[in-house]
């Protein structure tokens, strides 16, 4: 499975020869700026989605859960910032990622986090919408919230490990 993914991504190694890649690699400040935007994106994502998850797990019970949905666009914006900057990282230095197991694990955890969101909307959304101040989340929502936190922390872990592997 891992070999198949690697050979598939080998097919896009040419991205490293594009003008975007050249610009990023030649500029001293491009990579640090991209990293800062990537970090800002991940903080917005964790801030918005993480707080929702923590509410599921019982923190800030005074807040009716549905009200926290206003933060989801902030989380999505953060995710998009990470997606764009991540794509630019990959484009500029494909060799850092194509054979790096941490990269594949990071992508896997992001996909799992996305599936977890889908499960939330299919299984727990309606009950969560009805949660008033002081209400506990249904067990399914608590599990989804816990899994979400674990997955996103995992994404951060694998992301941070990328240079070390």
């Amino acid at each position: 499975m891992f070999e198949a993914l690697q050979s598939w991504l080998e097919g896009v190694r040419w991205l490293g020869d594009t003008r975007v890649a050249e610009f990023v690699n030649d500029s001293f400040w491009a990579w640090p700026v991209l990293e800062d935007v990537h970090f800002l994106g991940l903080s917005l994502l964790v801030g918005a989605i993480g707080l929702l998850d923590l509410r599921m797990l019982g923190l800030a019970k005074a807040i009716p859960a549905a009200a926290l949905h206003r933060f989801v666009p902030v989380g999505i914006a953060g995710f998009l910032l990470c997606l764009v900057t991540g794509a630019l990282f990959f484009t500029s230095k494909p060799a850092l990622y194509i054979h790096n197991p941490a990269f594949y694990l990071k992508m896997l955890f992001i996909v799992l986090a996305g599936l977890n969101v889908m499960v939330f909307y299919l299984v727990a959304f309606r009950d969560v919408e009805r949660m008033g101040p002081g209400d506990s989340a249904p067990v399914a929502a608590k599990a989804i919230g816990a899994i979400s936190l674990i997955l996103w922390v995992g994404v951060i872990c694998f992301g941070r490990l990328l240079p070390f592997i």
């Binding site: 970090f39 994502l45 801030g47 902030v74 490990l161």
Partner: protein, 166 residues
């Protein structure tokens, strides 16, 4: 100063964090620092966005209940940050950007204290719109914490030495 830095570098703890090939050493410290940052900056931005007017159906007194998440992130970063400085004291302490980062953190904490008094400690906070002063403090808070995050990342690009003898 160099001999003091060299002394730290030679301690068993410094050597272990810096040179151990284990993922539980330097990589783990960095991971903890990044996770802490995510919760610190993420929570601070979310709470301050509420003060600025996002999700107005959440009472201010209620959004304040998320502060523990921010403080867990903060203390995680104090501990992991100290570990990073112990690992490579010269790298941090001879880099002027590091002092800018510490200054921004201090300002963020002081600004947070004023914001706490102006907004969150007001017993009537849920009964009226947030004052302009409160909003300015919230916006400043976001800028200061994001500034601390940015200067932190820039440390990897601005250091002049890794070890005191370099």
């Amino acid at each position: 100063m160099t001999s003091y830095l060299a002394w730290i570098e030679q301690t068993a703890l410094s050597v272990w964090i810096r040179e151990s090939p284990s993922y539980l050493a330097f990589p783990a410290v960095l991971i903890l620092h990044t996770v802490g940052m995510a919760f610190l900056v993420g929570t601070a931005v979310a709470v301050n966005l509420r003060v600025l007017g996002l999700a107005r159906n959440i009472p201010i007194s209620a959004i304040a209940r998320f502060f523990p998440a921010m403080w867990v992130g903060f203390w995680l970063n104090v501990l992991s940050g100290v570990a990073l400085v112990i690992a490579t004291p010269a790298k941090a302490l001879t880099n002027w950007v590091f002092y800018v980062k510490l200054g921004l953190i201090l300002l963020a904490l002081l600004n947070g204290r004023v914001l706490q008094n102006q907004v969150f400690n007001d017993p009537a906070v849920d009964e009226k719109p947030v004052s302009t002063k409160g909003k300015v403090l919230a916006a400043t808070s976001i800028l200061l914490w994001v500034g601390a995050m940015i200067t932190g990342r820039l440390l990897a690009y601005t250091y002049v030495r890794i070890l005191s003898g370099d």
